[in-house]
Subunit: 350 residues, 2 copies
């Protein structure tokens, strides 16, 4: 598998095959691990980083599930390819910076991805379509166990897994779901929901994790605490809370339809019409309009498109994706034109 | 011909058959005439008004050109029918009020219309598609002469035709054109143009004449002075000035296309997309979007619609038209839904 193959092979989450994938775009579990006897990435010498990279790579590629995976050295990628991987949620923004000796492995369907020499030596992620944290946890738990056979992870009997940042110490786990909550936003209930989440030791972030604003009515919700709780308990806790939010969004949708169907349909169709018509469109407007179009598909208002297509449009209309599709660097204005062209083309085929 | 036939028979100007009808929607010439020996309408007794109405009706219907015309007594119409005639530019708003003894005659293709007992006993109008004041003037001049054979018009050797309001005295003529000037508006040149017009003794008004705001980039331009000039000179003068404005709009369109084609096409397509998609739409938004769609058709950007269709949509999406099409009274909200439905249906057929 090469990096460019990702452009044609849509990730599993894009195909919207998982449970409740109308509201829950994807479920992710991430584990932070470090090799014993080596300083954390930021404190390690180039030589040490290099050893961590090649040692980890060997172990990763020997895993059955990652045998035919993509492996890239981030330092060898141009800025568009790096951005492209961030846009696909396969690596963090931080992983783009000071890229020497950083690596990334991506498995089939983009379900498994492992960053090497990010903040921690290993940051493993499993991303599944829909509301499916438990399966994601099982997969990543298996990988963790297998890797633990060949790699010696830094572990303390007192604290658990040791990590570069103390907030990750313990399980080293972060579980998160990407929720699409347009109706809670429209009915102005989202504020209360987010407040409640914080009280339950969860955090809400935007589309690209820490430090990003919520846009397109997407909220990434994850656990804040990784120490002092068992992994299963953390997963159970977040699972239970997310279920409530999903139910809440569902009933907000029903309320909107019952009380204000015409106005809602008008907003949805106008968004869809603009997507099908615009010749210049920014990424911000695209996300907002696709959010409404996705709601339209969920509600059965729009029948000419499906969730897979809308999800795909969310992904491929991002700046680096556009430039890879066009096979050249594009200015922001050129991207706005290309973005509109691709959206028209994809929606026009329906 | 009945009043409801107008709903199906589009007026000549709607079919956009006249010269320069891309920029000049229609040309109109109006003559004010009063019967000698009767007080002006507002000062006349009911009995006198009645005599004026029936005397005029007889003369009008004996004209060859108005033989099969529609004749309605305004006082017998409900408020929707009255508004409907105003929306079609066949009579003035003022003609709706205190409607007893008021009449209206409308000829084939809505080219000729004559109000009886408006401010003046007779207000005759000829409206032609495109930039065609001279033909409009010829037609109305013939009608005036023919009517003068059977009716005794109030005329003074010193002042010319006498009218209820002194601003109309003399020729009793007002010539006007309805211009669509989106590019002069977009390039912010319209202010200067309108200033220049005023200096040349012309007035600019909105879609429905005196006291209405310009909307949808439509400007109705007419002569201010009717006294002390020959009719032909007034027509020549306005004709010459309008020609310059038309050229100006034309070159503004070319400039916009040359300098900013992508942004212009984007605006046009978005407007068209919204028209094709909206499920609730106000008349103000409709006019603005149709204005852009019309520009799109003029520029060859939109090929799926033609000017006739866009002109028709301008007309039939008006409140009274919607209610006549639906055959019942509609609330403003219901009209916004019906309007969107009709637009989608008409544009969807293309």
């Amino acid at each position: 598998m090469t990096l460019d193959d990702l452009l044609n092979n849509t990730g599993e989450w894009i195909r919207c095959t998982g449970p409740a994938c109308d509201i829950v775009m994807s479920s992710r579990v991430r584990l932070a691990r470090n090799l014993a006897n080596y300083p954390f990435s930021h404190w390690a010498s180039k030589k040490e980083q290099e050893t961590v990279l090649w040692t980890s790579k060997e172990s990763i590629l020997s895993l059955k599930k990652l045998k035919d995976s993509l492996f890239v050295e981030i330092g060898k990628l141009d800025s568009i390819d790096k951005q492209f991987l961030v846009e696909r949620h396969l690596m963090s923004k931080e992983h783009m910076i000071d890229a020497e000796n950083k690596g990334l492995s991506v498995g089939q369907d983009e379900v498994i991805s492992i960053m090497i020499n990010e903040e921690d030596h290993l940051r493993m992620q499993v991303m599944k379509s829909g509301f499916n944290l438990k399966e994601a946890w099982q997969i990543i738990n298996d990988i963790d166990a297998e890797l633990g056979n060949s790699l010696d992870f830094a572990y303390s009997m007192d604290f658990g897994y040791l990590t570069a940042c103390p907030t990750n110490t313990g399980t080293g786990m972060r579980a998160s779901v990407m929720l699409h909550l347009p109706s809670l936003v429209m009915t102005k209930q989202i504020g209360k929901v987010l407040q409640a989440i914080t009280k339950l030791s969860l955090t809400a972030r935007g589309l690209y994790g820490e430090g990003t604003e919520a846009s397109g009515n997407f909220f990434q919700i994850s656990n804040q605490v990784s120490l002092g709780h068992k992994e299963d308990d953390i997963i159970d806790n977040i699972d239970r809370i997310i279920k409530q939010i999903v139910d809440h969004e569902q009933s907000a949708r029903e309320t909107l339809l019952a009380q204000n169907r015409e106005a809602l349909e008008d907003r949805i169709w106008r968004a869809y019409g603009t997507l099908k018509s615009a010749h210049i469109i920014t990424s911000t407007e695209t996300i907002d309009l696709l959010s409404l179009a996705r709601l339209g598909v969920d509600l059965g208002v729009i029948k000419q498109a499906d969730r897979t297509l809308i999800n795909e449009l969310f992904v491929i209309t991002q700046p680096a994706h556009l430039q890879k599709l066009e096979k050249k660097k594009l200015s922001p204005n050129q991207r706005d034109v290309k973005r509109a062209e691709i959206i028209r083309e994809k929606l026009g085929k329906q």
